[in-house]
């Protein structure tokens, strides 16, 4: 069965200890504990499953804390729009929020933006030459939005694409990080995101060692960017391992 065990993907011990020492110094300014009891460099437990919808070529369901996302992949299919012959396939991404996904009803934030960001994040990973003249549709639906939506959508979409048998160079995993003064807080919830000073999101292919998407908001020093990137890349690698083990379970559990 493809239900992954509840795992936290936290950075290695040495890094954590070093950062904790740094934290203690800056703790004089703000001393706050995260609402769900995590420390600053701990991500939410990830639960991932493939095969969520039966009618799609591939699908995946992800639950990171309270954020719940379902992604289905259709295709490759004939492009219904009359298109010129193209050597490479086309990718069509669509992210939508259900009306009950946020606490205030009907507030689907940043839909259009997320759709194009999802596409850019995945384009670098999918081998488009393998399906010329056809289109792959990726539909993401956020059932519950509780922070870190876009990175979770990206990771879940990678899983769905692998489930659908679309050829990729590597699985894309993504993680976002918030900055509060001097503190770097990874995988923020929506309350934390609402009052962050700056944010950073990375979508990364660990084995290929390539970043497919990188966004940054707020004012950052280069040193802080380096530190944040290190944290995020490490978390991405661990998340990628979780994605892999989910897919491996599928392969091994298959009855021929």
């Amino acid at each position: 069965m493809a239900s992954g065990p509840l795992e936290t993907y936290s950075p290695s011990q040495t890094l954590e200890r070093r950062h904790q020492q740094q934290k203690r110094k800056s703790f004089n300014e703000i001393d706050w504990a995260r609402s769900d009891g995590r420390n600053f460099h701990q991500c939410r437990p990830a639960y991932l499953r493939t095969g969520a919808t039966s009618s799609a070529s591939g699908s995946a369901y992800a639950e990171f804390g309270s954020t719940k996302v379902i992604v289905s992949v259709f295709g490759p299919r004939e492009s219904k729009k009359a298109m010129m012959y193209s050597d490479v396939g086309r990718l069509n991404c669509n992210v939508s929020y259900t009306t009950f996904s946020t606490s205030t009803r009907g507030q689907g934030s940043d839909n259009k933006d997320f759709s194009s960001m999802l596409q850019k994040a995945l384009e670098g990973a999918i081998i488009l030459e393998t399906f010329p003249k056809t289109t792959v549709d990726i539909f993401a639906l956020v059932l519950e939005s509780a922070g870190g939506d876009l990175p979770i959508i990206i990771s879940c979409a990678s899983l769905a694409l692998a489930d659908a048998g679309i050829m990729m160079y590597d699985l894309v995993s993504a993680v976002s990080l918030s900055c509060f003064g001097k503190n770097l807080v990874i995988d923020p919830t929506s309350e934390e995101e609402a009052c962050q000073d700056g944010s950073l999101m990375i979508a990364y292919m660990p084995i290929r060692n390539e970043v497919t998407q990188f966004t940054l908001t707020g004012e950052w020093s280069t040193a802080k960017i380096n530190e944040a990137m290190e944290l995020c890349l490490e978390a991405c690698s661990k998340l990628s391992n979780i994605l892999r083990s989910c897919l491996k379970e599928n392969v091994l559990g298959f009855t021929d």
Binding site: T53, S54, S55, A56, S59, S66, I70, V71, S72, F74, R77, N94, S96, T98, T99, F100, S103, R105, D137, F139, L141, L143, E144
Partner: protein
């Protein structure tokens, strides 16, 4: 929806005439129904209903609001249906809009009763807290995850089950002498009032194919329909709403016949839903 060839159409019509549909069901039998409650934890009530391969989710959120000026003693209910592209690429963008609004209107007609509020499946006056000032606004959202026909019946069943799962927080109104807009309320986190769903009707859609009617059509069967009638029936056998869909005209006697057939078919559906709801509640009590 894929089209069907002439040969397949004839085969399907023949099957329906002989009371043996493509999956072995009789004309008035429903596909296996399974329900799950509490699938959306942040909503006041939610349910997921699987009818064969059609999967829908209903979620109910209650928020405090002001009653409409024309009806100060009633709460408000808003029903909104969304067909998600996860069900299929045909629902992407504007593709699902027409269907979604048709379903929303159909459900509103069946659940909300007449303009005066009489005969509504949900008793709107029970939603009022302080007449003319504060009431509960119920937002009922339906989401279609997988579509294989008979969406209206599935959504109505999901709403009924979600209502049975809904807990409205108990609110005590702190009486204000100056009775203007701002009233203070104390919303309790602990106590919840359960909804009484015995009055909530179910919808049975009868699809006319050839000379016979079938209940719970799959999308293939729906593509062959000449017309369909969706009848909402409550536990006491009273009709609570009716919508005719589809283009072909129907003889009035045929319509009356369809209404009585729908009433008959709804008894079974109500019984199945009630037993599923009871089982889900029992499981909840055991687990919690």
């Amino acid at each position: 929806m894929v089209g069907l060839s002439a040969g397949e159409k004839q085969f399907m019509h023949g099957g329906i005439a002989q009371d043996l549909r493509s999956d072995g069901r009789q004309r008035l039998q429903f596909r296996p129904i399974s329900i799950q409650t509490g699938v959306i934890p942040q909503a006041n009530g939610s349910a997921r209903v699987t009818l064969g391969t059609t999967v829908v989710i209903a979620s109910i959120k209650a928020e405090l609001g002001k009653p409409a000026p024309l009806r100060p003693d009633k709460g408000k209910v808003v029903i909104f249906i969304d067909c998600s592209p996860t069900a299929g690429p045909m629902f992407e963008g504007r593709g699902g809009e027409e269907l979604s609004s048709e379903l929303s209107v159909g459900l509103q007609r069946c659940l909300l009763g007449g303009k005066s509020g009489a005969g509504a499946g949900i008793d709107l006056s029970s939603l009022v807290l302080a007449e003319g000032k504060i009431c509960w606004d119920l937002y009922i959202d339906g989401l279609v995850i997988s579509s294989d026909g008979n969406l209206l019946d599935a959504l109505a069943a999901a709403i009924k089950v979600a209502l049975s799962n809904t807990g409205i927080p108990k609110v005590s109104v702190i009486v204000e002498a100056s009775a203007e807009d701002q009233l203070e309320v104390n919303v309790s986190d602990e106590e919840f009032l359960q909804f009484d769903t015995s009055g909530v009707p179910v919808i049975v859609t009868l699809t006319k194919v050839g000379r016979h009617y079938i209940a719970d059509a799959t999308s293939e069967e729906e593509s062959q329909m000449s017309s369909a009638v969706s009848v909402s029936v409550n536990r006491h056998g009273r009709v609570c709403g009716l919508t005719k869909r589809g283009g072909a005209g129907l003889d009035p006697s045929v319509m009356l016949d369809m209404i009585s057939v729908a009433k008959h078919a709804s008894e079974n559906l109500i019984a199945v839903l009630d037993s599923e709801i009871a089982a889900a509640e029992a499981a909840e009590d055991d687990g919690s």
